[in-house]
């Protein structure tokens, strides 16, 4: 890092003069070679925010079967009728139905040895979003909110955390980090999200905002000063979004027909395309959700259908990010809250199984074309290189250059790390 670069950072920072701070620091400590670790960390944080790193989480709600996705066991009893296909990387096979993903295998790490203990949807979903086991006394921030707090640029007019697609348990949010990092929900990707478009016309909307401002000022005069100040801050932010040209990100009509077809004109395909458009504009965390993975019955038929929607979206997303030179700064993670039982139940389904499950990671410095970890031949246990939820989260942080051990103060005054425990997955990067 050079001093000149620090000064550039200073000019974009609002409300606090980084430049003069640095001059003082450089005179006193830098010359002595003793810039404090806190100062370095602060500078590093500023730098991060300029680099527009993003994460796109492809969330398979319900718990995707590892055997019908990226850890197939063809020809075994537990493997069921699922066949395996070759991929762009010799020696790596995944389940049939994931051909578009297979083509991108050079960018992908397949993680087959995730292991955990939570087998209930809500508790596991919470854990796989926050890194923590649920507790009544503290609402842990979702990793996405934590990342957004570290990565978000001050100039961003779009929401810093966006969740595309709804469903149960979709409400894990900023926890104690507060409203600025609460996920912004987009239910139907394609057009403007609910309530972002003005109900009347833009000129009339602006006229109304003017009247609102004058009326609020009256309340401020009569003792409501603090309330009005907060209110104004939120309304400024909301109306900035409403009037922002950046909301064109939500308009998928701007994409070519070929691109839209490649992603697939499905809820998930549209969600992935929107995720790319948001990441391009500096939104640090985007989650795209697909429901329906809780395949207690008719597992194979259900996953055929799901793969038909998820595979093109994910394959196109990774390819598109690469083509646009965004893959290095964008981490794509595919996962759900747990895996499914290796044994097929009498209804042709698979039940909850946290003991072994899988995930995909691509971009963000992740080494492509490799498999990490394996399950046993019958799929009931991890055979090697077990990876826990904290291990995965620490790795995600590392990919995005975020310090996983950074502590935040919870409302009860207890410091909490972004990720508690865990070590980065060996061999994931490079």
């Amino acid at each position: 890092m050079s001093i000149a670069r620090h000064d550039n950072i200073a000019m974009t920072h609002r409300g606090f003069s980084r430049r003069s701070f640095l001059h003082t620091v450089s005179a006193a400590s830098l010359a002595a070679g003793s810039l404090g670790i806190r100062d370095v960390a602060t500078l590093h944080a500023e730098e991060l925010k300029r680099q527009h790193k993003s994460m796109i989480l492809l969330w398979m709600a319900g718990g995707p079967s590892q055997l019908e996705t990226f850890d197939p066991k063809p020809g075994t009893e537990n493997g069921g009728p699922t066949e395996a296909i070759s991929t762009a990387v010799d020696g790596i096979q995944i389940a049939k139905g994931w051909e578009r993903t297979a083509r991108q295998m050079k960018e992908i790490t397949v993680l087959r040895s995730l292991t955990n203990k939570e087998g209930q949807h809500d508790r596991a979903t919470y854990q796989l979003h926050t890194g923590y086991i649920p507790s009544g006394s503290v609402k842990h921030p979702a990793l996405g909110s934590n990342l957004a707090k570290e990565l978000m640029s001050e100039a961003l007019e779009l929401p810093s955390v966006v969740t595309i697609g709804g469903g149960r348990f979709a409400n894990i949010g900023a926890g104690f980090l507060g409203v600025d990092f609460e996920p912004f929900q987009v239910n139907n990707p394609g057009g403007l999200p609910d309530n972002v478009g003005v109900a009347s016309t833009k000129p009339r909307y602006e006229r109304r905002l003017g009247l609102l401002g004058r009326l609020d000022e009256e309340f401020a005069q009569r003792g409501g000063e603090t309330v009005v100040e907060n209110h104004r801050r939120i309304y400024d932010k909301a109306s900035k979004l409403v009037l922002s040209t950046e909301t064109e990100a939500f308009n998928l009509e701007q994409e070519s027909a070929a691109t839209r077809d490649a992603y697939g004109r499905t809820a998930f395909g549209n969600g992935c395309l929107l995720a790319r458009r948001l990441a391009e504009r500096g939104v640090p965390f985007i989650e795209v959700r697909v429901n329906g993975w809780d395949t207690h019955q008719d597992n194979f038929e259900a996953i055929d259908r799901l793969a038909g929607e998820v595979d093109p979206g994910m394959g196109a997303l990774i390819g598109d990010l690469k083509d646009r030179g965004l893959l290095d700064s964008t981490l794509v993670v595919w996962m759900g809250e747990f895996g499914r039982t290796p044994r097929v139940n009498p209804r042709g389904g698979r039940d909850h199984y946290p003991r072994v499950f899988n995930a995909l990671l691509a971009g963000g410095g992740v080494r492509g074309g490799q498999v990490i970890g394996n399950s046993t031949a019958d799929g009931t246990a991890v055979a090697d290189a077990p990876v826990t939820v904290p291990d995965l989260f620490v790795s995600i942080c590392q990919s995005l250059g975020v310090d996983a051990a950074k502590e935040r103060m919870s409302p009860l005054g207890r410091p909490m790390k972004i990720v508690d425990g865990g070590t980065a997955i060996p061999g994931l990067f490079g």
């Binding site: 203990k117 087998g119 209930q120 949807h121 809500d122 508790r123 649920p134 507790s135 009544g136 006394s137 929401p159 348990f169 409400n171 507060g178 409203v179 609460e182 912004f184 929900q185 609910d194 309530n195 972002v196 478009g197 003005v198 109900a199 009339r204 006229r207 109304r208 009247l211 609102l212 004058r214 009326l215 609020d216 009256e218 309340f219 401020a220 003792g223 409501g224 000063e225 603090t226 309330v227 009005v228 907060n230 209110h231 939120i234 309304y235 932010k237 909301a238 109306s239 979004l241 409403v242 044994r343 139940n345 009498p346 209804r347 039940d351 909850h352 946290p354 409302p411 009860l412 207890r414």
Partner: protein, 617 residues
């Protein structure tokens, strides 16, 4: 009117004793008459006044009638007063009209509904199990009825701690169901909610800044190991859940199957195929648990998929993979060996050190902790509620945050809190008594004032403006738009109807505007999706047009004079007349827009989006 009611409906004897010396200090009418709300309110104000005078703090004047009416209606019933109520209240010459209004609000059915919703949010925002949402409505309905019948706070707390039954029928199971009966979570929440003490910080380690030790947390958890939550099935379908007492340490049913597989096949197999069919399992003499759970066992164990169970399959019934192992005792985990069972811990109450005994039944354990927690000798039970209610009504508590009090925390104006807590205990934990007493204080009836921002600033010298809770805001919108509460489609009873409630407009609104009621007001800032909803949602904008069918349209045709129309709109939305300055602002605006209907639509939009509309002032 309740003013003349005897507040001493249920005075615990101990409380009377405990109160004796305090009573003489704060001028309580002692004994059979019970504490008089006026006198306790006066004593509280006297304590505050003393401190204000010492520090030279100037108190804010008494608020105007319309401010009081709006404030007290929102606080006691969660509703906005109508323009007609506001006008009549302002015109009434009665000297005691504020107290009379309080009394009348306390007897309205909306009182119970409002506070039931408040506590529903306290309990359910922290639920560790999402399916607990299924118990929200029955919890709210139960509590609303309790509040309206005048149930005392200790009765409700006892019910919440000792409940059993179907979560749809017994609303009092809500707290236990919210945490799946997990002893650690239930102990932590019971302490936080009823005592205001965050003892769970000690669950993993001795807390440096607290007096509580790790063992004391687990001694509290040891009151709850026998709470069970299990599904109620109709065939294979789960139709509800029930909270039960699990007093017999049952081995896992799977263990019995695995161990007795050969014997079971011998006894039940009648056609000699060495397999048990469903019909065979229904053998009246030997079948038992195998018959009732046959389909589920078959599902996990039928390896050869012939629809029958043989001895090998029974021996291989998989052990439950995860989840809490049911246990009738509580064990404190060994931090050095987390996989081990840990150390057996007996129940003991950290506040007074009482120990109910060993190997007690669930009923006795939970009965004991309910008695200990609600005992008049436990000061934190009364203080926690007094502090919480004071904070809810005045915007700030003696202790902040409201659910982190206790002996190591410092209260501001501890004598004022003590006066209220002693009175509340002596009233027999009468919830209405407490709210009435708080609303009678001068502190409650002051005008709002902007915070000076000075660190020496004392609270309660002025009323603090606070953000409306989701249900208050929703009710306010219904009142202003003049529409009845939209109900979800469907109706009827049964699981389907229960899920419907989770799709009602009120529930959706709560999802968007809800917050944990234990959050300090300073942290409640609102958020972008909320303002987007109020500014742009099609539902609202439709109701805000000046058509003949809308409230606004009717006002405009009823009041051709703009001065009158403006007054009516302000009374309706903000429960006050517009100021001279506000009249000027609008008449300028009206002139610049040049279209009456449009200008009023814009005004109505601005009023509903204003900071004041969402604020209790």
């Amino acid at each position: 009117m309740i003013a003349n009611r005897c507040w001493n409906r249920k005075t615990p004897r101990l409380a009377v004793a405990a109160v004796a010396w305090m009573g003489s200090l704060i001028g309580l009418a002692n004994g059979a008459e019970g504490p008089n709300p006026h006198e306790v309110a006066k004593a509280v104000d006297a304590r505050l006044k003393q401190a204000f005078e010492q520090s030279g703090v100037k108190v804010s004047p008494v608020c105007k009638d319309e401010d009081f009416l709006r404030r007290v209606s929102l606080d006691l019933t969660g509703q906005l007063p109508t323009p007609r109520q506001t006008t009549l209240f302002g015109l009434s010459p009665a000297a005691n009209k504020r107290e009379a209004m309080v009394d009348s609000l306390l007897t309205s059915p909306e009182f119970g509904r409002h506070w039931a919703r408040y506590w529903r949010d306290v309990v359910f925002t922290n639920a560790t199990n999402q399916r607990a949402q299924l118990g929200r409505q029955s919890f709210e309905d139960w509590l609303a009825a309790e509040f309206n019948r005048g149930a005392a706070w200790d009765e409700m707390a006892t019910a919440l701690l000792t409940a059993t039954g179907d979560v749809y029928d017994e609303g009092s199971t809500g707290l236990l169901f919210a945490h799946d009966g997990d002893p650690n979570e239930v102990a932590a929440e019971a302490s936080r909610i009823f005592l205001g003490i965050q003892i769970q910080c000690a669950s993993c380690h001795d807390h440096p800044s607290d007096v509580w030790k790790r063992e004391q947390f687990h001694e509290l958890a040891a009151y709850f190991p026998r709470v069970g939550v299990r599904p109620i099935r109709d065939g294979e379908r789960i139709v509800s859940y029930e909270v039960v007492s699990v007093n017999v340490s049952r081995p896992n049913p799977g263990d019995a199957l695995r161990e007795n597989a050969d014997r079971m096949v011998r006894m039940l197999d009648r056609n000699g195929d060495q397999k048990i069919s469903k019909t065979e399992a229904q053998n009246a003499r030997f079948g038992g648990p195998l018959a009732t759970a046959y389909d589920r066992i078959l599902e996990v164990a039928d390896a050869d998929k012939d629809g029958l169970l043989n001895a090998t399959e029974l021996k291989n019934v998989p052990a439950p993979m995860m989840g809490r192992q049911p246990n009738t005792e509580h064990y404190m985990p060994d931090l050095n060996d987390p996989a081990s069972r840990g150390r057996l811990i007996q129940p003991k109450f950290f506040v007074d050190g009482s120990e109910p005994g060993q190997s007690l039944s669930d009923e006795n354990r939970r009965g004991a902790i309910a008695r200990s927690m609600t005992s008049p000798e436990n000061p934190w039970f009364a203080k926690a509620l007094v502090n919480r209610m004071w904070s809810e009504l005045l915007g700030e508590g003696f202790y902040m945050p409201v659910d982190d009090i206790g002996p190591t925390r410092e209260a501001r104006f501890p004598e004022a809190l003590e006066a209220l807590a002693v009175g509340f205990t002596a009233s027999g934990y009468d919830y209405k008594w407490l709210l009435k007493t708080i609303t009678l204080t001068d502190a409650y009836q002051r005008e709002i004032r902007a915070a000076s921002g000075s660190p020496d600033e004392l609270p309660f010298a002025a009323q603090k403006p606070t953000r409306l809770r989701a249900d208050q805001a929703f009710n306010a919108l219904l009142t202003v738009l003049g529409v009845a509460e939209p109900t979800p489609r469907g109706g009827g009873d049964g699981p389907g109807a229960r899920f419907q409630a989770l799709r009602s407009p009120r529930f959706q609104f709560q999802q968007l505007f809800g917050f944990d009621p234990s959050t300090p007001q300073d942290d409640l800032l609102g958020n972008v999706p909320q303002s987007l909803f109020l500014m742009n949602s099609t539902t609202l904008s439709g109701a805000l047009t000046a058509q003949r069918t809308t409230r606004l349209g009717r006002i405009l045709s009823e009041f051709p004079d703009d001065g009158d129309a403006l007054s009516e709109l302000y009374l309706l939305t903000l429960v006050r007349e517009p100021s001279k300055r506000e009249r000027e602002i609008f008449s300028e605006y009206l002139a610049s827009v040049g279209n009456r209907a449009e200008a009023y639509e814009d005004l109505m939009w601005s009023l509903l989006n204003s900071a004041e509309f969402l604020t209790k002032r």
